[in-house]
Amino acid sequence: MSAGALPSGIAPPLDLSTKRSARSVKSASMTGLMIASVVVIALPLVAVVAAVFARGLRVALADFPAFFVKEVPIVARRPGPGMGPAILGTFLATGAATAIAVPLGLLGAVYLHEYGGMKRFARVVRFMANVMTGVPSVVMGLFVYLSWTLSFGYSAFGAGLALACLMLPVVLGATEQMLRLVPDHLREASYAVGASKSRTILTVVLPAALPGIVSGSLLAIARAAGETAPLLFAIGAATAYNPNLFSQANTALSIQIFANATSSFVAAQDRAWGAALTLVLLTFVITLTARIVTARFALRR
């Protein structure tokens, strides 16, 4: 109690209001800076998405559904749709990549967590998988060119191989993380009734980890669908539909965007925006599905 002039029994009025001081001003301005950073990043991100939607929709809806179905005009100058072959190509290449990378990544992660543990082979694989996640996509593209395209020509499958190389470490890491979340007592309960290790993994552990594995794989797929660099070296530049996975050049949405972006013809640029819209929508849908699967079904940390 401060020495005041008040008689005992009467407390001085209590003032708990916020005081201005150098400290509070500093805190407030720091908060202001944080808010500013939100705005600064929001503007361009929103601008990009808005541009894609605004320009892309204009093109895609102009002649719906022709844009998604018609073939790419060979003469770049000519206006009009479409991106049909590119959509097919994206699906073919990404599908092939998924079919290769997901099983390999899944089984590899099963080995790392259920069998490998801290043994040297497992530690080396984990380390290398970490290195692999940092490989620039153009390096993988060149690698596939040298090892596949030179011998077998351009094809959607070659593109799939390159994408699979990019996806594999991601699926591996995500799956191993999910396997770690499956509690050991479930494994023990399975062993205790006489189930073998492989059966335990296949019927107890993997089903329990499945939602997380699915969502991790979906995210990897979404990234692969948007990759451009590896495809430059593997897929070629077709303009017509090519449903054949293994032979003949093909095309993809990302390739088309890249090629048309540098074109000086407005018609081509318009098609680029339309393709960008398609690709962004595809990515959004996949990412959203992944988030929903995680939120509703996955094991919690």
């Binding site: 390999l104 590899g108 082979f121 153009v138």
Partner: protein, 289 residues
């Protein structure tokens, strides 16, 4: 007589070998990549020796390949991108975790994660058709740096957010209970705790920026031989060169481009490993996850 011998054990062992094989594929691919790329790039190293890395002149018609301008370009644009992206990402991450009310924070997190999924080629498209035209920036280091910054911000933000979230609430409450302002609490508890993880996140973003091919290829311009600190100059980066010149390259030129890829690979590996090491070191047991 009790028979405890193993029945169906073959299937069990086969499964184990299968999974080990799948894990080994990772090693196989990396080894193949390293071997193939190095072998194919040898011709240019025989021609230029280590001068490949230090020469400034890149002249395919004359069979002269000096990669230094592109190494510089990659480094410079990545550095610009980091300088722009890090304060913003950090501010954003702190905002999402410390300032924003929960109702705002959750959709914001989802939004950032969603935007992290936008393909780089779309950013490049926007950069070349909107940014450099409307803002009259032209193709330059700065334009590329800005685009890269926009692209790597979501990644750095997500990682930073995860690290910051692991700050023990007890520490934060302790600071507040002593009458610290919000910023003082952050500076005293959140930042020291997250230091290592944040540096790691930044370096991972750096690795991404350096390896980014397409967006850079579209907006960086194609001037050769520029080694300058002037952000408004045009230049080139390693991945952009590879993407732009591959189509018409002849034999030795191709080898040179492959050599560029190998160099890029090496640099990004070093950056990523350093990032991982820093993150591992700071993620001590008992702290964080």
């Amino acid at each position: 007589m009790i028979d405890l011998g193993a029945k169906r054990a073959y299937a069990d062992r086969a499964f184990r070998w299968m999974t080990a094989g799948a894990a080994g594929v990772v090693l196989l691919i990396l080894w193949l990549v390293a071997v193939t790329m190095t072998r194919r790039s040898l011709p240019v190293f025989r021609q230029m020796g280590l001068g490949f890395l230090t020469d400034r002149q890149w002249s395919p018609p004359d069979d002269i390949f000096g990669a230094l301008p592109f190494i510089w370009g990659t480094t410079f644009t990545a550095a610009l991108a980091i300088v722009i992206a890090v304060p913003i990402s950090l501010g954003l991450a702190l905002f999402m975790t410390q300032v924003a009310p929960p109702r705002l924070a959750k959709p914001l997190v989802s939004l950032i994660d969603l935007l992290a999924g936008v393909p780089s080629v779309v950013f490049g498209l926007w950069g070349v058709l909107v940014l450099s035209q409307h803002f009259n920036l032209g193709r330059s280091f700065l334009t590329a740096g800005v685009i890269l910054a926009i692209m790597i911000t979501p990644i750095i933000t997500s990682l930073s957010r995860e690290v910051i979230d692991t700050t023990p609430p007890g520490d934060k409450e302790g600071a507040l209970a002593m009458g610290a302002t919000r910023w003082e609490m952050i500076a005293a508890t959140v930042l020291p705790h997250s230091k290592g993880g944040l540096v790691g996140a930044v370096m991972l973003g750096l690795g991404r920026a350096m390896g980014e091919t397409i967006a850079a290829a579209l907006v960086i311009g194609s001037a050769l031989g520029q080694i300058t600190f002037d952000p408004f100059a045009s230049g080139n980066s390693m991945p952009a060169v590879i993407a732009n010149e591959w189509g018409e390259a002849q034999e030795l030129h191709k080898a040179a481009l492959i050599a560029l890829a190998v160099t890029l690979f090496a640099i990004t590996i070093v950056v990523n490993l350093t990032a991982t090491a820093i993150v591992q070191r700071s993620w001590r047991p008992g702290r964080g996850t």
